[in-house]
Amino acid sequence: MQPTGRYTLMELMVCAAAHLLEDGKTAVIGTGAPLAAAMLAQKTHAPDLIVMFEAGAMAPILEKLPISVAGSSTQTHALMHSGMDDIMEGCQRGIVDYTFLGGAQIDQYGNLNSTLIGSDYAKPKVRLPGSGGANDLASLCWKTVSIIPHTRRKFVPKVDFITSPGYLSGPGAREAAGLPAGSGPYRVISTLAVMGFDPGSKRMMLLSIHPGVTRQDIIDNTGFDMLFAENVTVTAEPSDEELRILREQVDPQGKIISRAMKE
């Protein structure tokens, strides 16, 4: 499903993620594609985007892509070396605008599973790491963006385990559960498209489709009924300038952008 030779699918997704980030806002970011997106945003339209890592680094100047959210590479030239409490409590207080999450499964309400595959908690078919900070960030940050490969195995009617809350069972469910009002899933960036959520039903709704991808591709690769926005656009392709920055400054070794997304 590689759209053209000018850029990789990952480069398209990283740029789509970068475009979501506003200047002068805060984001708690993990490793991998989301961090490449944040770095690209800082080097283009959002120089004052404040990047935080859940383990305690605040507003670093990133020199290389970290492999751990607590590693030295998250702390270079930081404005503050703090702790996980300060970061997570800031999220809970409402000062963190964006976060990025991944997962093994996602459903139409944006609920994410990164704990297990199977039906028996005590003896899962596949044990995955668990929440880590994902549940906290999905619960507390204002806008959650998920990046996830678009297959029926991952876009499922019902996740095997709700590790991190999306809109749970639908409208009002987050608030009823005690989660902060007005927070929740914002966008899903997949290998096929960019999706948001219908304000009324809180169901996933396709907003833009990647170049070369058809509606039928979406339907064939989605395990639930995907809503389509009234005017679905084509996902903006990376500009040559964005690609140059990505390849020369953000990820010169191509650790992320030349990687195909694991399925």
Partner: protein, 326 residues
């Protein structure tokens, strides 16, 4: 109210904790000892263990190896942001229960095959939490409280398989999650500098280690270097852990290897990849553990097997964080 069914391994008995802390010695004594002595003296079969750092960052590797080398039984473990630390203990078969916010995973390094096997065959009793949830359990204990309220985990299966409880705010009437205090029997934290009494400095982010040091009933410090107490009195703003919380001080240069140590050395990705590969089968794993732990007397010998001082020098050269002068 959501049904919550997870097992609570460590009930938050603050009165018992107060009684323990009342009796704990606060005497100013030289607490230096070998890792073997510290482990033998302060860790017992069945204990609930917590470690500082973040899985592949600033972990007390020497103590983790010694626990495996001594073939401990039925340890409980706090799987908070744990990657290589959990991997060592899980591979060594010393655990029988685990609070989980993050295990089995190795961040960008993938998953631990043996850790997966262990959980998938039900060999560990497990309870789910989030990173903040477990961190706040340490903080509740550090504060001497039986619980802290939280606004995470609510409505998820993470909550359902946790051992938290839903409560109602007496002021706002809103639903909150109460996470129970966690007082580990023993905690092990690797730091940059300590003095002989246990005063300790941590450079870079402290993650949850300030709270963990206060929550733990017994505390083993491993340190890159021992410095004079006078250095703490010259820079009291850098002290993370005061001596009266500490039971043992072990000098272990390179002690976080193969994990990284901010401002000191980066991680040994080759060795950590070898470790994951060795987990392919039980046989290959046992051979690997024989070589690097069981048939190896101590951490220095383990370092030597991996290139020793030369390898560590390479990793020091590759460390991104440099100390500011003055």
């Amino acid at each position: 109210m959501q049904e919550i069914s997870g097992e609570l391994f460590m009930p938050p008995d603050v009165e018992a904790a107060r009684a323990f802390f009342r009796e704990k010695s606060r005497a100013l004594t030289d607490k230096r000892m070998s890792v073997a002595q510290a482990v033998e003296r302060f860790i017992h079969d069945g204990d609930y263990l917590a470690v500082g750092g973040f899985g592949s960052v600033r972990i007390p590797t020497a103590v983790l190896h010694e626990i495996v080398r001594r073939r401990y039984h039925n340890l409980g473990f706090c799987g908070h942001c744990s990657t290589h630390d959990f991997q060592i203990l899980a591979d060594g078969g010393v655990l029988d229960r685990c609070d989980i916010s993050y295990i089995v995973g190795l961040e960008l390094r993938g998953l631990s095959p043996h850790g997966r096997r262990l959980v998938e065959r039900g060999a560990l009793r497990t309870t789910e939490w989030s990173n903040a949830g477990l961190g706040w359990r340490y903080k509740a204990a550090a504060m001497g409280l039986p619980f802290l309220p939280a606004r995470t985990m609510l409505g998820s299966d993470t909550e359902r398989y946790s051992a938290a409880r839903e409560i109602t705010c007496p002021f706002t009437g809103q639903k909150l999650l109460a996470v129970p205090a966690l007082f580990p029997d023993v905690a092990v934290i690797h730091v940059h500098q300590a003095d002989i009494y246990g005063n300790a400095q941590i450079e870079g982010i402290h993650i949850v280690d300030r709270d963990l040091a206060r929550a733990a009933k017994r505390l083993i410090i491993t340190a890159e270097r021992i410095i004079p107490t006078e250095e703490f009195r010259r820079h009291p703003e850098l002290t993370a852990i005061p001596y009266w919380l500490v039971d043992a001080v072990c000098l272990v240069p390179g002690g976080s290897y193969p994990a990284e140590m901010p401002f000191e050395y980066t991680s040994d990705e080759t060795h950590m990849a070898d470790w994951v590969a060795a987990e392919a089968t039980e046989e290959s794993l046992q051979a690997f553990l024989d070589r690097f732990i069981y048939n190896t007397p101590d951490f220095d010998a383990y370092l030597a097997l991996n290139g020793g001082a030369n390898r560590l020098a390479e990793l020091r050269a590759a460390e991104p964080l440099k100390r500011a002068r003055g």
